[in-house]
């Protein structure tokens, strides 16, 4: 178990900046992080912006949605429609890819991403 002390909460952007039911890309140092405003469910997610399939910095521009009876939240890469779970980062299209996910907190209209120290 990770304790909260290990996580640094970084202010990423304002909630209004991220389109409803879509994503946007945030710069954190040299990293690119995709943030998703899953407004339909009132949920927020964050993952790496790089699609591991063809190494493209594009996941934030992908469509989000859900899959299966459990309504697993997912994002589809705009390049070749590989889909990834927003919860686990696992590739849902049957390929052996894994993307990084980050915890997200929204307070007072500000979006924070939890970065592991």
């Amino acid at each position: 178990m990770e304790t909260m002390a290990d996580i640094e909460w970084v202010l990423a952007c304002y909630a209004d900046d991220v389109p409803a039911n879509g994503g946007a890309c945030v710069k954190h140092g040299n990293e690119q992080i995709a943030i998703y405003n899953f407004a339909r469910r009132g949920e927020w997610y964050a993952t790496q912006n790089l699609c591991p399939h063809k190494q493209q910095m594009v996941l934030s521009r992908g469509m989000i949605g859900s899959e299966g009876n459990s309504c697993e939240p997912k994002v589809a890469c705009p390049f070749h429609k590989k889909t990834f779970s927003l919860l686990s980062g696992e590739c849902l299209s049957g390929d052996d890819f894994q993307i990084k996910t980050y915890p997200v907190r929204v307070e007072d209209g500000k979006v924070y991403i939890g970065i592991l120290e």
């Binding site: 879509g22 690119q32 910095m57 521009r61 992908g62 949605g65 997912k74 705009p78 049957g94």
Partner: protein, 829 residues
């Protein structure tokens, strides 16, 4: 015990597959791969696509991190020089020494170069690696006449490559009396030859080359029959030789004709050393295809992880597309009477040749050959391999059932359970049917739970038929639903959205769907909403595909391309200058497209609004190159300038393009107008094509270029311009309302009961009584046209969305890099 070390010598397709299979079964091995080539394993089967725009990266079987992610240490550009079997060590060129527990040789083969005088001359090449292709491409730039030595499968691939490289005159020289001697018979070869001639290939059979002549570089070929041929370059494709030199050096048993001798476990004469793929000789045979190589890889991976599996030869049946011609050969293709009975079908007009060999008692199919049309290949191969009893009229197998009920798919369901459907991943019919019984409903489900169809993809149609057949057998209603979130077809949803006047995606999902939507239903509903209400699409940007979301086409590396509309391909010098200035200012790569307009590549998402502001100021509009909507109406120059032109095709093309611009449809739409029957606008390859006649226009519909070219079919003859537009209104609106998502007009028509006769009846005779309504609906779309880019440029809120970093809007994506090419740029990748 420490992890056993496995050294893999060779990083080709089979070596890679072995690693993939091994790591998927166990992580307890220390795997070290040595490759001679400088890059990671790539797809050699589709090598010729390298000349059709695929990059080395596209051909890669994995990405650079795959090896590291799986704990495999990879040594590229570092061939093994020596195997010391006593110490159990390998020694690489760069000096690495590794102790192995098991050694897997996947050294592949090299092209066989016959010992002909002059083979060392400049301009003589082989065809095996990406490096070979680079050399060929560089040399071809200055060559006019090319030749390929060898008319086998690879030789014809190489000839295709030369044509693709723009060699005007390409010859194929074959020693045998026929092409593809291993796959087809003389009659099939003759048919293939006549098809290939149409593509500009000159074929010379029974020709044996005696000398490659010229000073320093190749100038001509001399043959044994005292004839000669002037050529600028030659590609030798005279067969393969197994790479067994390392094995020989290590004292392993090899054959005098080449190949490392292995047993049914792929073991060489040293039980710790295996050989797989094209270097292995099993039962005096080299298996020069990728599928048996993969099977060998599987056997060794199984063995090393404690399983038991053996190799008993492999079915060498094959189907491929050569220069646009389907060729297949399966089972015992060459058996002749009196050992069997053969049925032959030949249509020299269409270039089709089919032969099947059946047992003398008429019960079983033994094998056959297909040239020109090979759709039946999968089911025929299954019929051979599973010894399925033939129907009373076996000729139906190659002619199709004529008259009576067509029992489509029935043949597939009658396969035995153990029939191998996907040979790349070894998936049986039973496995697929069970997956369907357990809830899989489409090809994606099947790919996930069985891996069937994830290799070469050749079995996908068969798998789809099996899914439909199994579901039908279970009494499940097979319906063409959009996705898991909407239990309706696109046509049903279109009507429901219309009647309920729903204007946004969330409302549609709440009313008729479930869950949260996905990347399939979002753009499908977006297209429906657009075709119904024609609102500005970026208002609902997150349900659009990326291209529609940013109103530009996303390209490699994450930049976008910009295409302003140039109706009919007509443009003033002033506008050309503006495009040049804009491209220069923003550092864009420019290219003329196939649709007679100009594409500017390499734009950062941040720059798009400013680029469009300048273009719009100069009078340009969005070209909708990013949308599932009308692209271009291509035209020839027509009667205003051309001495053959009958009517003014440019003016008519502009009128039509202006009319339908911005109309959103299930898939993209392309049109063409030709001013005479010479058809310079290639209108018959378009979704709608118009060709001038003495009396008016002929209207063709539902043509297609692309991967499955199809000529458009004649809808109406000698009609005037007003009638032509009326028919087009009806045709396009009928398509928009009834087609499945992402279905081009050609596929839509192919699936339509009654085909073109039915469509004619709807559009010309108003058989559905919808014409008045669809004409009104189309007029509504025409009247509500807006330039999407103008809307964005003039709206600060919408402009703000065109950024890469939401928290650093001024900054561009630092991951984007370019490199120079021919005085312009290309994406660095």
């Amino acid at each position: 015990m420490s992890q056993p070390t496995i050294v893999v010598v060779g990083n080709g397709m089979v070596g890679y597959k072995f690693c993939e299979k091994l790591v998927s079964r166990s992580t307890q091995f220390n795997i070290i791969v040595f490759g001679e080539e400088p890059r990671i394993a790539y797809d050699r089967v589709h090598l010729s696509e390298y000349f059709n725009g695929k990059s080395a990266d596209d051909l890669s079987l994995s990405n650079s991190s795959w090896y590291a992610d799986n704990g495999i240490s990879l040594h590229l550009d570092d061939p093994i020089q020596e195997i010391n079997r006593i110490d159990k060590t390998v020694h690489s060129l760069k000096g690495t020494v590794i102790k192995y527990d098991y050694l897997v040789m996947a050294t592949g083969s090299s092209p066989f170069v016959p010992n002909i005088e002059g083979v060392e001359k400049k301009g003589v090449f082989v065809y095996r690696t990406i490096e070979d292709l680079d050399l060929i491409r560089d040399y071809a730039a200055s060559a006019k006449v090319g030749a390929v030595m060898g008319g086998g499968l690879l030789g014809l691939e190489a000839a295709k490559a030369l044509i693709d490289l723009g060699i005007k005159e390409t010859h194929v020289i074959e020693f045998a009396p026929r092409l593809m001697p291993r796959q087809v018979d003389s009659a099939g070869s003759a048919m293939l030859q006549s098809k290939l001639k149409e593509f500009g290939l000159s074929i010379h059979l029974n020709k044996s080359t005696s000398e490659i002549a010229g000073d320093d570089k190749i100038e001509f070929l001399k043959f044994n029959d005292d004839t000669s041929l002037t050529v600028d370059m030659l590609v030798i494709s005279a067969g393969i030789r197994p790479r067994d030199e390392l094995a020989k050096l290590a004292g392993l048993q090899t054959s005098s004709r080449g190949g490392v001798i292995v047993n049914e476990k792929m073991q060489t004469s040293d039980e710790c050393i295996f050989a797989i793929g094209e270097c292995a000789l099993y039962n005096s045979m080299i298996y020069g295809l990728v599928a048996p190589g993969y099977e060998m890889a599987d056997i060794v991976a199984t063995l090393l992880t404690g399983g038991d599996k053996s190799f008993y030869g492999y079915d060498m049946s094959t189907k491929l597309k050569l220069i646009g011609v389907d060729v297949a050969s399966f089972g015992d293709a060459f058996v002749t009477e009196p050992e069997c009975r053969t049925i032959v079908f030949e249509d020299s007009h269409k270039g089709i040749y089919k032969r099947i060999n059946i047992s003398n008692d008429g019960k079983y199919l033994l094998g056959g050959i297909l040239v020109g049309e090979a759709e039946a290949y999968n089911i025929l191969l299954q019929t051979v391999n599973n010894k399925i009893l033939l129907p009373p009229n076996p000729e139906d197998l190659i002619l199709g059932s004529r008259g009576g009920d067509t029992a489509e798919g029935a043949g597939i369901m009658s396969l035995p359970d153990d029939a191998l459907i996907c040979s790349c991943e070894a998936v049986s019919k039973l496995a697929i049917c069970s997956a369907v019984n357990n809830g899989a409903v489409d090809i994606d489900d099947i790919k996930k739970c069985t891996k069937a169809g994830t290799g070469c993809g050749g079995c996908v149609p068969l798998v789809k038929d099996l899914i439909a057949g199994t579901m039908k057998a279970n009494g499940q209603y097979v319906k063409n639903v959009i996705c898991e979130h909407f239990d309706y077809s696109r046509q049903e949803l279109f009507d429901m959205v219309k009647i309920n006047k729903l204007k946004n995606y969330d409302l549609v999902l709440d009313h008729f769907g479930k869950g949260d939507g996905c990347e399939v239903c979002k753009p499908a509903v977006a297209s429906i909403l657009s075709s119904l209400w024609n609102d500005v699409i970026v208002k609902q940007d997150t349900i659009q595909d990326s291209n529609d979301r940013y109103l530009a086409n996303i390209q490699k590396g994450g930049t976008y391309s910009v295409v302003p509309r140039i109706p009919g391909g007509e443009i003033t010098p002033d506008k050309l200058i503006v495009i040049g200035q804009v491209a220069k200012r923003y550092g864009l790569y420019t290219k003329i497209t196939g649709g007679q307009r100009i594409d500017m590549f390499g734009a950062h998402v941040n720059d798009l609004p400013a680029i469009w502001e300048e273009l719009i100021d100069a009078g340009f509009e969005s070209g909708h190159a990013y949308g599932k909507s009308l692209r271009t109406v291509k035209s020839c120059v027509g009667s205003t300038w051309c001495r053959y032109g009958l009517h003014d095709s440019v003016s008519f093309a502009i009128e039509i393009e202006e009319r339908y611009k911005g109309v959103r449809s299930p898939h993209k739409l392309k049109g063409g107008v030709s001013g005479c029957v010479r058809e310079c606008a290639e209108a018959q390859a378009k979704d709608f094509g118009i060709i001038a006649t003495e009396k008016g226009w002929n209207l063709y519909v539902c043509g297609n270029g692309g991967s499955k070219p199809q000529h458009a079919q004649l809808l109406a003859t000698d009609i005037d311009s007003a009638t032509c537009i009326k028919y087009l209104d009806r045709f396009l609106m009928f398509y928009i309302k009834t087609a499945d998502p992402l279905t081009r007009t050609a596929t839509w028509l192919n699936k339509m009961d009654g085909g073109i006769a039915y469509l004619k009846n709807v559009i010309i005779n108003n058989s559905l009584d919808i014409n008045e309504q669809v004409e009104e609906e189309m007029q509504e779309l025409v009247d509500t046209y807006h330039c999407e880019w103008k809307e964005v440029v003039e709206n600060d809120e919408l402009r703000k969305r065109f950024v890469h970093f939401i928290n650093a809007p001024e900054e561009k994506d630092p991951a984007i890099k370019f490199e120079p090419m021919r005085e312009q740029i290309k994406a660095k990748w």
